[in-house]
Symmetry: C2
């Protein structure tokens, strides 16, 4: 009756009568028993590094809006502020999931990961290997960025990211940037600022520490692998009395809605994070329904120029 296979068997009146009675008695099908009997799982898992990072929220939004309504979304976060690892995912898998979405994995993790249910990887910087994935095409936006920075006279550009083990995607952004810069006769001029975490504060501290060295090396532009890092650098630069974009031009990745509100407004590469979520939902739903491993998907990105970037000021 509640299995959706009754058209033609039960008259509509009777049907609604039954539903009314069911509601009256407070009956609801026990989905656990139902799932067991049918041998079908009902929830898909999402594991990401940090719910507090807007990138995550945007992906999640895309996901919830486009996930097949037959599934519910189980969200798993790593314990204690760390990045997620195999044990986080094991915890997820213990829930017997119909499918799994892994957002922004670390290298180490991805190498040792063996899928045990339909899985799609999100934002792995092209490192997902044979696993179905949704990734970003950064090359054209980053090439444009490189050309733009070059035209402004920046030939000493620095990058801030996190270690490769932590986030493949940030490292991938670095590589694309390096390639783009090289295409314009320059390249990353100094050692990266390699942060421990993805927070504004991490970048704030980190930049204050590294700026003397970068300044001495003549760095005039900083590209951050994540908008949050750029916000931290912005605050740090301000606290150091630096003029942005006069003394230092700044670029982030993601294009969060807050980036036009900072002072100065932040130039970014827009990653359209919400679309990553919707595409992942589409891919995974198909994967689960058909059982066939889908191909990977690559989504575009776009340069957004605002006030945090400007011509080099020689002193």
């Amino acid at each position: 009756m509640f299995t959706g296979k009754d058209p033609g068997r039960v008259s509509p009146q009777l049907r609604s009568l039954i539903f009314a009675a069911a509601a009256d008695l407070g009956y609801r099908v026990n989905s656990t028993a139902s799932a067991l009997a049918r041998g079908q799982l009902e929830s898909i898992g999402f594991v990401g590094p940090d719910p507090t990072n807007p990138f995550f929220s945007m992906v999640l939004e895309g996901l919830t809006r486009h996930l097949d309504s037959a599934f519910s979304l189980t969200v798993l976060m790593p314990e204690g502020g760390e990045d997620y690892n195999l044990s986080t995912v094991q915890r997820a898998l213990a829930g017997n999931l119909a499918g799994l979405i892994l957002a922004s994995p670390g290298t180490e993790f991805l190498e040792s990961f063996v899928p045990t249910c339909p899985t799609v990887i999100l934002d792995a910087g092209g490192a997902a290997g044979a696993l179905p994935s949704v990734d970003l095409d950064l090359s054209s936006a980053v090439r444009e960025l490189s050309g733009y920075l070059a035209s402004l006279g920046h030939d000493r550009v620095a990058y801030v990211g996190v270690s490769r083990e932590k986030k493949i995607s940030l490292q991938y952004r670095r590589e694309e940037l390096q390639a783009g810069l090289l295409g314009h006769g320059s390249g990353l001029a100094v050692d990266d600022l390699v942060l421990e975490g993805m927070t504004i504060d991490d970048a704030f501290e980190g930049f204050r520490r590294i700026w003397p060295a970068w300044s001495a090396a003549g760095v005039t532009a900083v590209v951050c692998g994540d908008d949050l890092h750029a916000y931290g650098v912005l605050r740090a630069a301000r606290s150091l009395g630096l003029d942005i974009p006069g003394d230092l031009s700044l670029v982030g990745f993601n294009d969060l809605p807050y980036s036009e509100l900072t002072a100065p407004a932040l130039s970014t590469v827009n990653l359209f994070a919400t679309r990553l979520g919707t595409e992942a939902a589409a891919l995974l739903s198909r994967y689960i329904r058909t059982g066939r491993v889908p191909g990977s998907k690559v989504l575009p990105s776009a340069l957004v120029v605002r006030e945090s970037t400007g011509p080099v000021r020689r002193r």
Copy 2:
């Protein structure tokens, strides 16, 4: 064996041997069957209005960090950008949840809602009735805010929120503000700006529309029920050529990490949203375990003064 009741029954060596063999064969307990046999539900549901609002993310973070590890977290979002309603929650309940957390409900919804499993309401502005809830104590922070604004010479204060049906909490913030202001001999001077949604853009459009009226009425300070709205007002004011805090002082609620980055940095009432999540997790876990309805919890808030507020400038 996998039920956790083996200490003293199986030797540690044998135990690990079995686990090794299980891993070898790729065996994992079927949690659906397990749950059915034990008659225990394994997931708790979280329904909130909008994953994209950082308030939601912060609550979610608190939740995931402190939820009993026996439970997994199922996240439910309303369809199509609307606020969530009974049908959203019905969808949630179809999943047979051990417990339910409802964040920032609307009036209409809350009035017609009848819990069918252990439920705690979050951020309902004191309107949760008999249901266990986690709420904010705004009065002392808002009284402080009122005194502060009064001392700056602001006696024409305006409020921006959403309709009461949509978010009880924003209306509650308004009431607290009104009470605080009244305590200082003033009060809200003009009609509220009542927005449709919770986005920066909603507030941007709304403020541009209403400012002529507010300006004519001599409004010198605007308090927004949500930081996102304050960001929108900030952008709108800037686009209108207003000087903040010279022409207009601005205050938000939540104290997002972005609020110290805006230009000018935003004064806010810090809601400590993450703690709402951790408290809700604690309350609900206890509720489910003991079966006894827990009492409600009230959490403190705090005024944070930054650059967006200053003395009234008479012209």
